[in-house]
């Protein structure tokens, strides 16, 4: 990888009791790209995201964002530095309206008046404007996921972490979401790091993919190379159908 790193994870290890969730993991996310992270259930993907965004402290290792050591900083500071995320299990503000949820994302960089304008822009960008007065409890899955994305974008990140954002959607919706992610990456110049179970999607979306298995990085490379990687196929044993598009 030649271009400058946006995010760098260096020798990160995390144990939960006896379980080693992440074992000496190192990886780089270059500026401006869409990078994938795959692995079977329980591989440690979400744990890695939680460490990057400050929800969990690693036992060992460092996380660098644009060269600055952010290991152990609290989540809100990491957000202010420019990393936003979505959650695997969505965490909507059910009592708030869509608009207010997005404003809550925008207020950390702007005053309320400006934040409202900003929120409207993002809602428009994601074609959510019609939903702005709905409560988050009234939304369907696709809408919830988009609102969560809108909220994250409202914090004006330089790096966006998406944790299985396509889970539970149908193929048409996935297609639409993929276009959207690409558009965000291209138009807003936001680096994107995605966890995805749905192979088809990650292979089409990302330029470079890391593979985690039982906490270890077992492979990395361009998507088309990985499809033929023995270790990856083994890790996904019984899932060959899925992996070969």
């Amino acid at each position: 990888m030649t271009s400058r790193s946006c995010l760098e994870v260096v020798n990160v290890t995390k144990r939960f009791g006896g379980l080693v969730a992440l074992d000496n993991v190192s990886l780089k996310v270059p500026e401006g790209k869409i990078i994938g992270l795959i692995g079977p259930n329980g591989a440690g993907k979400t744990t890695l995201f939680n460490i990057i965004t400050g929800y969990i402290k690693p036992d060992k290792g460092k996380v660098l964002f644009k060269g600055i050591d952010i290991t152990g900083k609290p989540p809100y500071e990491i957000c202010k530095l420019g990393i936003a995320r979505t959650f695997q299990i969505p965490k909507p503000f059910l009592d708030l309206t869509v608009e207010d949820s997005v404003i809550a994302g925008a207020i950390n960089r702007h005053g309320v008046g400006e934040a409202k304008k900003k929120a409207m822009e993002i809602l428009e960008y994601l074609e959510l404007k019609d939903l702005k007065d709905k409560y988050c409890s009234e939304l369907n899955i696709v809408q919830s996921k988009k609102v969560e994305l809108a909220r994250a974008l409202a914090t004006e990140p330089k790096l966006l972490l998406l944790d299985e954002i396509a889970a539970g959607l149908n193929p048409a919706e996935i297609q639409e979401l993929m276009e959207l992610i690409k558009r965000i990456n291209y138009e807003k110049k936001i680096t994107i790091f995605v966890i995805e179970h749905i192979m088809r999607m990650i292979l089409k979306l990302s330029e470079y993919v890391y593979v985690l298995h039982y906490g270890k990085l077992i492979a990395e490379g361009k998507p088309e190379e990985l499809v033929h990687n023995e270790k990856v196929i083994e890790a996904y044993l019984g899932r060959k159908v899925v992996i070969s598009r």
Binding site: T53, Y55, P74, P75, Y76, C79, K80, A84, R85, F87, K91, P92, F93, L94, D95, L96, D100, S101, I103, A104, G105, I107, N108, R109, G111, V112, A115, R151, A152, A154, T155
Partner: protein, 333 residues
């Protein structure tokens, strides 16, 4: 502009009507006392709304702040003749200081939900006990404030009318603060973290600091108001001023009013405290315990059947009536 007037109109009518209450009840002391009592609950419940309604923190410490304000103001007046207006301010500051001492570790250590409720109510117990034992300023016998000439300086009057107006001003200020908070960065942050702290943090919200700010505003209002409260009741007693049931009642009013709205706690206090006082007047002397029992049943029924709170029930009822009327007028016309 037109919608602005339309929105402000009910508020204006409310303010005008509330200023006219003493006139409407024909300056009857009994009703003015009743109205002032309702205002006392409304002020504290509306202040609680900032941390409890917007921020979702089940704070059961209202009586701790009220009592601190009351005892500080009362003692400064009794021992040094210091005007309650200054006493109030010192009471408010002290209440805020105590709130920070409790709130900082609580929020820092991530004490949430019901654990937060339990820790705040134990603070009320601790303060009540301290003031019961510290006989110089408290003690088990009530201490009466001097009731001399009527005086605004000493907040001492021979009728309840001035107390009513002062409490009303407190309420209006508290509601304005609510409104300002709701539309500020603090308000959005509070509403977000009330539902999900992890998600709020991912948006750059400093959860600890946000909660602490809300707690400070709330405790300052209630502490200051405690200084008024002691002049209104005319005496200090640890069990009355650091009252556990009062703390609990405030939270119940907040919940049955409807969380997250400015009008919820206000409406709940207006309606339920009037109901309680009416019941006290009607049944209080006949059978002991019957009026609080009916009051409690009313609270229980609202929790059971109106989960969104009184505010939304009234709103729905209002729209229901409006649509009915519209249909009728349309048919008529």
């Amino acid at each position: 502009m037109k919608s602005y007037i339309k929105r402000m109109l009910p508020i204006m009518i409310g303010i005008v009507l509330s200023f006219l209450v003493p006139v409407m009840v024909g300056f009857d002391e009994f009703y003015i006392l009743l109205a002032t009592t309702i205002l006392v609950y409304s002020v504290v419940a509306s202040a609680w709304n900032i941390i409890g309604g917007f921020g979702g923190q089940l704070d059961l410490g209202a009586a701790a702040y009220l009592g601190l304000g009351a005892f500080i103001t009362g003692n400064l007046l009794l021992k040094f003749g210091i005007t309650p207006w200054i006493g109030m301010f010192i009471g408010g500051i002290t209440a805020t200081a105590v709130a920070i001492v409790i709130g900082y570790p609580t929020f820092r250590l991530g004490v949430k939900g019901v654990w937060y409720a339990l820790s705040t109510i134990s603070v009320v117990y601790i303060l009540q006990t301290l003031f019961l034992m510290w006989e110089e300023v408290g003690g088990p016998v009530e201490k009466w404030l001097p009731r001399g000439e009527a005086s605004l300086y000493y907040l001492s009057f021979r009728t309840y009318i001035p107390y009513y107006y002062i409490a009303l001003v407190f309420l209006i200020i508290t509601l304005i603060i609510n409104r300002l908070v709701e539309h500020s960065r603090l308000g959005y942050s509070l509403k977000a973290l009330a539902y999900d702290e992890d998600a709020a943090m991912s948006l750059g919200i400093n959860v600890q600091r946000t909660k602490l700010k809300a707690l400070m505003i709330y405790s300052f209002i209630v502490g200051t108001f405690g200084g008024f409260y002691v002049c209104f009741t005319g005496f200090m007693h640890p069990v009355v001023d650091f009252s556990i049931p009062f703390s609990i009642e405030i939270v119940v009013l907040g919940i049955v009013g409807g969380l997250g709205t400015i009008y919820g706690p206000l409406l709940a206090s207006l309606i339920l405290v009037s109901l309680k006082e009416y019941l006290r007047g009607t049944f209080g002397a006949i059978i002991m315990g019957i009026y609080p029992a009916i009051y409690a049943i009313a609270l229980i029924l609202i929790i059971l059947f109106a989960p969104q709170g009184l505010a939304s029930v009234l709103k729905e009822a209002f729209y229901f009536i409006i649509t009915k009327l519209r249909i009728r007028t349309m048919r008529g016309g």
